[in-house]
């Protein structure tokens, strides 16, 4: 019974077709509260499409899915209130200051002025951005922008945060720091759903799934997957699976 309550994402044969093309083909999986769920796949494997359906941005062609207990067909408004999102493109406004960005996103998520104020101070403290608060985001280094971007995505304490290749273009050290933030969020009970092309990041996830040609080929913990394929790194697991893919860029 306990297990039942703690599922925050439930997908059953979720499918999206664009004409004859099946972008996402009957994927089924469950994600639990506080879990860090890695969503892997080569370019064109159908990750983005699947993620868009889960975020309520696009409606599925068939299958079932609930996010935080809300249906992806009918309750997209409720879903949007309960999720955070950070995209592969950098998702803050470059010509607003750090503080203005935080205030803006707090504002459109409907937080109260007091809440925004206290959250802003807390965030600046945690990220060590106090002295940069009134600087334009454009002037920050990429690693900081991404950390800020993540913090903004979880500003309204969503149940789930979707991260679409969040660490593109930064060095491994910065990436590691970024993952510290993810672990903290996960400790607070926020479920993290992350897509990535970096296999060192895949190792950080609790469980990972790998999509090939629109289908979810495997879903397990990184350790189990490595055992199953008799290899030492996630890199090799991914390569063995993705090699068979017919679709690509």
């Amino acid at each position: 019974m306990m297990m039942q309550d703690d599922k925050v994402i439930v997908c059953e044969k979720l499918t999206k077709r664009f004409g004859d093309f099946i972008a996402t083909n009957e994927i089924s999986f469950e994600v639990h509260k506080g879990e860090i769920f890695g969503f892997l796949g080569a370019n064109g494997a159908g990750k983005t499409t699947a993620m868009r359906m889960l975020c309520g941005l696009s409606s599925p062609s068939s299958g079932k899915a609930t996010i935080a207990g809300y249906d992806v067909y009918t309750q997209t408004e409720q879903i949007k209130k309960n999720i955070g999102y950070m995209s592969q493109k950098f998702s803050l406004y470059e010509n607003l200051t750090v503080r203005e960005n935080i205030e803006f996103f707090g504002g459109i998520y409907g937080l109260s002025d007091q809440k925004i104020k206290s959250k802003t101070e807390e965030l600046l403290q945690v990220l060590g951005l106090k002295s940069e608060a009134n600087k334009l985001v454009a002037s920050l280094p990429l690693g900081w922008k991404q950390k800020l971007s993540f913090s903004v995505a979880v500003l309204h304490e969503p149940k789930i945060v979707f991260l679409d290749e969040p660490t593109g273009g930064v060095d491994p050290v910065t990436r590691r720091q970024f993952w510290d933030l993810i672990y903290e969020a996960s400790d607070r009970g926020i479920t993290v759903f992350v897509t990535t092309h970096y296999m060192d990041e895949a190792e950080y996830c609790n469980r990972i799934s790998i999509m090939v040609d629109g289908k979810m080929e495997v879903l397990d913990t990184p350790a189990n997957l490595k055992n199953r394929f008799h290899v030492r790194s996630m890199d090799e697991v991914f390569y063995q699976l993705a090699r068979g893919a017919k679709r690509g860029d």
Partner: protein, 368 residues
Amino acid sequence: MKQFLAFVTKEFYHVLRDQRTLLILFGMPVAQILIFGFALTNEVKDSEILVVDYAKDNASQELLTKIGSSRYFKIRQAALNHKEILSTFRQGKIKAVVVFPVNFNEDLLHHNKAQIQVIADATDVNTANMITNYLSSIIMDYQNQVNKTLKMPYRITPEVRMLYNPQLKGAHGFVPGVMALVLMLVSVMMTAISIVREKETGTMEILLVSPFKPVLVIFAKAFPYLALSLVNVVAILLLSVFVLDLPVKGSVPLLFAESTLFIITCLALGIFISIKTETQQIAMLISLMGMLLPTMMFSGFLFPIENMPVPLQIISNIVPSKWFYIIVKSIMIKGLGISMLWKETLILLGMTVFLLMVSLKSFKIRLQ
């Protein structure tokens, strides 16, 4: 509502921090009004003309003073022969030459007719026409004055009155034109670019994933440009009243209401363009080619629509600025009220509703 406010605040930050945007927003109307008002004038003011007076009698002197006292001409006098006249034309300093023959007064008195030669530089056809027209009318005027003392059985003199614009000021036509142009540019181009920019930078996705309603995203993006466009209307009107001496004859509130309607038409167009395009460059090109050019060509502001071939006249009807131009001209210059302008207003309103519906519809389709 609080969410909407947060969004609008953010939009204003964007606009106020981008110097290029600010320059287009506020520099352009001022520059256009000043350029059209003072540089690109099609009036003939203080044209230099050369008078060659071989007569030097009463009549020629009287006529000369008459010409000189009009504000159109500056007179230089010199006694030159035909060849010398041609060479002064070549120097390009003078626009026309008036030659009084010897015995001008004598001929008038004894033969009841005399000739004056007017030679104009027709490299610029319009100016040449205008100068000769002005000169002939001054000469006619003088002739009538002289004729009063004579007996002549029938005489018909047309009394021309230039209605609404007695001084034939060029500003009357172009202030409404500039208004249509500037509002088009600000509302269509800026709105389209600002929405497409969010698509390009990826922030649009973030907004669509947020609980903020997609339709509200569009409205919140358009709203600041509505406000800024209204500021532009105020700026243009102030410039036209205080710098160009062109008062608003009709009702100012009506003018603002009509302007708001036109701005919304433009915003709807801008939103439509932004939904259909993916990059800022393309959005800008379409706005410029698709909106600005037709506004210049078909609003009646630079080229009279009545003189166009019929197919073009028909096309001009679908250009919103044409109707707005008619409305503004009628309110500002003729002082007409809504009772005379309901037809144009209704057409503009229809276009606005149509465009808004089309853009919102295509926006929803995109979301799928």
